[in-house]
């Protein structure tokens, strides 16, 4: 490989980790609902979404392993890195809270994933385009599920309305990170591999406004503070997720089903 090609592979590795870790950490979070959802039907509904996300993570992290070229498989990458090596946005590691807070988080990140994957399906990188093409169908259902619930809760009782509005206020500050373009985002967009985040943001914003209006919720104001989970600087919550998630692989190295 030429030096330039090696450099692109190295950048792409980090970029694919960002996407893979988003799906992985969110899938792990959602998995916490299993056995605890408000109804048996929702238990399965949330678990289905979680499984789709873990499926996306597997495809992306396996690809990351190949790009890295150090012979690390999807399991090793998923379960044996340190916290600062995880590059998911801070939003997806936020606690589930009550069912309404989980739904708010799912709408915010689900609309992002959908708009992102729809564009990534045209990526110059064929492997990513194929992964995105599969993921986009899953994400369309995820957003249908979560936004239906947001409308029911927002336009429901005074209590459900108040709860989802406060969850929205709580989680909103984490959304700015999704669209804060850094050098890596820019470089990948310049190569035609990744979509422009400004474009994703405009589409996301329109979707969110529409669902918030239907749910009779107020869109919170953007705040200047910025999170940097996608650079490996996380909130306090990720460490606890990793302790749970990594326990088995660390205690029983190489364990398989």
């Amino acid at each position: 490989m030429s030096a330039a090609a090696t450099n692109v592979a190295r950048l792409l590795f980090r970029y694919v980790l960002r996407m893979g870790d988003l799906s992985l950490v969110l899938g792990q979070r959602l998995g916490e609902w299993v056995g605890h959802a408000p109804a048996l039907e929702e238990d399965l509904g949330l678990a289905n979404v979680a499984l789709d996300l873990i499926g996306q993570a597997r495809l992306l992290l396996a690809y990351a392993g190949e790009l890295e070229g150090r012979d690390r498989g999807e399991d090793e990458i998923a379960f044996l890195r340190e916290q600062s090596e995880y590059l998911n946005p801070t939003l997806v590691e936020q606690p589930n809270g009550d069912f309404g807070q989980t739904i708010v988080r799912q709408v915010l990140i689900g609309a992002f994933q959908l708009e992102f994957f729809e564009r990534l399906a045209n990526s110059a990188d064929e492997r990513l385009a194929a992964i995105a093409g599969k993921a986009v169908k899953e994400c369309r259902y995820h957003l249908r599920y979560s936004s239906d619930w947001l409308v029911r809760l927002g336009d429901g009782t005074p209590e459900s309305h108040a709860r989802v509005q406060s969850a929205l206020e709580r989680l909103w500050p984490y959304t700015t990170e999704l669209f804060a373009e850094d050098d890596l985002d820019r470089e990948m967009a310049d190569c035609g591999i990744a979509p422009r985040l400004a474009e994703v943001r405009a589409a996301w914003s329109a979707r969110i406004d529409a669902v918030l209006a239907e749910a009779t919720l107020d869109r919170p104001r953007d705040r200047p503070y910025q999170w940097f989970g996608k650079r490996g600087e996380h909130s306090e919550h990720l460490g606890y997720i990793l302790a749970d998630m990594q326990y088995l692989q660390r205690a029983h190295s190489g364990a398989r089903w």
């Binding site: 109804a39 039907e41 289905n48 599920y145 239906d148």
Partner: protein, 96 residues
């Protein structure tokens, strides 16, 4: 539904492939028909069981009374001539 804490019950029907009938597969709880479709999708089509879903509020179904089973179904028992087993089928007919 007297118990307001419990969501209404829906019956679920799945069509396995185009051209086949929708078959009853089970029931589930949902607040409305759209949620019932979502739940049916998550509960009953996880292993590619279908290409189409119907949901029907269980309350909309009128069922026969098991106590009347004798009156309803017994009279058919001795009418074996209703089964088409007395016809000679030509050899050329393969699929009847």
């Amino acid at each position: 539904m007297d118990d307001k804490r419990q969501w209404p019950l829906y019956e679920v029907f799945i069509r396995a492939r185009g051209g086949l009938d929708h078959k009853h597969v089970g029931s589930l709880h949902a607040t409305d028909a759209r949620m019932a479709i979502d739940h049916a999708r998550d509960l009953y089509t996880r292993r590619q069981e279908g290409v189409s879903i119907w949901v029907v509020p269980s309350a909309a179904i009128t069922a026969s009374d098991p106590a009347e089973a004798e009156a309803l179904f017994e009279p058919a028992r001795d009418k074996i001539y209703r089964h088409p087993t007395f016809y000679d089928i030509p050899d050329e007919v393969k699929t009847l």
